[in-house]
Amino acid sequence: MTRMSITGKDGALQPHPSPPMNDTETFWGLLKKFRVPIMMVSPAAIFTVIMILFPILYSAYLSLVKWTPGSEDAPFVGLANYIRMFQDPTFWLALGITLKLFLVCLFFETIIGIYLGILLSREVPGQKIFQALILLPSIIASVAIGMMWILIYDPTLGVANYFLKSFGLKQLVWLADPDMVLAAIAIIDIWEWSPFMALIITGGMRALPTDPFEAAVIDGASRWQIFKYVTLPLLRPVIMVAILLRSVDLIRFFDTIYIMTKGGPNDASTTLNVYSYLQGFSYMDMSYGSAIMLFLLALVMLFSLIISALRRKAVS
């Protein structure tokens, strides 16, 4: 936890005031003792198991058989779909694109997020309204965002090129250039999510102790020195949280690409998530699609574990 817990030393309620009975040792005793929390948690837990665990298991099954449209019993093929995956050049391409997009977006979103976060932490009149306004991209539906940017990015008729032309710059073809499409999509994502990063970071800044800053000012540190040696190290845990949250979404990059390019041109924007969709639905190969999806799920979980571990390290 990054904030001080106000619920006391360990914050936990004693399950019962003081029942000095021996039955707390047995299973039924424990069940009785924790009756209420179990009742409170189980509906949500059961719901999650039914809605989430079943699809994951079913996809695991699909990934082990050879599925064809209309087939009644799909023959078991073992790990053939996974072997195919590791031999498929497009899979590696998609993995590379996923990681590239992940790194580029995360890098810029973190930098811009920190900048915005610090800007937002200045208490000036209108700060609240400004903060809410720039959050708009993060909470608007991705469908609307995608449609809006298709129009903006149009190479001949769009506003983006109009601005480039007005400033005397070279006009670009944005989504239609294999070398440009990832950058174009990254720009949208950075536009969409940097303010969100900023919000988390501002929240963290408010909770920082003031003493180190006062000490630094007394020592005559410059603004840059304060930022580098005081602000940034203190903020690191919060920044890690922001990175964790974004990472989980970035590795599964789907919406914007599905709406805008469907993975093109020349497969240059085919992320793993898009590729699994293409395989599963467009190419009607659910088995292979499922194998890729499960790989992606494993990848996301791995990343969250790594980043959580890094965060824990940053806190301690």
Binding site: L13, A44, F130, L133, W191, L297
Partner: protein
């Protein structure tokens, strides 16, 4: 702060507003243009505004119905998320069951496409998909997969902020857990519930992938219909921009009228995550 600092801050505000709000404003402006003006080059900033795109939406499509569907699905999944999530969050916060909270997060990690086929399979086996009432329930259930973890994580942070002393004294008075939950914890966490409702409503409203394949004609929400404006011989940019604006309406309203709740909610959920 010095005067120079103020000026610098506001200068940055101005530029950033242009950058972050500009595209959204462009969308809203476009929705008020005729099709001809939308794709005009060079882009037109001043034009005769028209509400034709909006009126046509309601004339050509049962657009009011799509809006209602979006409300039913987003509202229903928010309600379900609250019913399941708030007690769970309370138990997690009070009995330190964070591993369970992590478990609900798996839905955030899995690619959405993964759920489509299995869910549809269940739905069709149970003969849900042909029946409107059951189809709404199905959509509400699937969207609750998005709202539930959000609500749980938001509410955990709110419950942890409630001083435990109050509850302990109630416990000593002999009140049961449930009564403490309903009469002490819940009223104190009302601001948190307000935030949860707003955020999970928005996130559920925005989500399109599940409804894309699971909704039928009478249960289709707004986000799905937005794809329908581009079709061979039937592309309608004006309608598309108007629909996109209507889809963004909850977000726009929230930004204008509930800033504090929004910021509080996003911060709380995030920092505690």
């Amino acid at each position: 702060m010095r005067k120079k600092d103020y000026i610098l801050t506001y200068l940055q505000y101005f530029i950033l507003i242009l950058l972050f709000i500009g595209p959204v404003l462009w969308m809203i402006l476009s929705s008020l243009k005729s099709n001809l003006d939308i794709t005009a080059y060079p882009p037109i900033l001043f034009f005769q505004p028209t509400f034709n795109n909006y009126t046509e939406l309601f004339k050509i499509y049962p657009f009011a119905k799509y809006i209602i569907n979006s409300f039913i699905i987003a509202g229903g999944s928010t309600l379900l998320g609250l019913i399941l999530g708030v007690p769970a969050a309370y138990a997690i916060a009070r009995y330190r069951l964070h591993s369970i909270a992590f478990f609900t997060l798996i839905s955030r990690m899995a690619p959405g496409v993964l759920f489509l086929i299995p869910w549809y399979l269940i739905a069709s086996k149970l003969e849900i998909t042909g029946n409107n009432f059951l189809d709404y329930i199905m959509l509400i259930l699937t969207h609750a997969v998005i709202t539930l973890p959000l609500i749980i994580w938001l509410m955990i942070s709110y419950f942890e902020e409630i001083p435990i002393d109050l509850e302990e004294s109630a416990l000593i008075d002999g009140c049961g857990r449930w009564r403490i939950f309903f009469q002490i914890a819940l009223p104190l966490s009302l601001p948190g519930i307000a935030v949860s409702v707003i955020l999970s409503f928005i996130f559920s409203w925005n989500y399109f992938l599940f409804a894309l394949t699971l909704a039928n004609n009478s249960t289709m929400p707004l986000t799905v219909i937005a794809f329908n404006f581009i079709g061979e011989g039937a592309t309608n940019w004006g309608g598309l921009m108007a629909a996109a604006t209507i889809i963004s309406l909850p977000a726009l309203l929230l930004t204008l009228f509930a800033q504090r709740l929004l910021i509080k909610g996003l911060t709380a959920g995030a920092v505690k995550g």
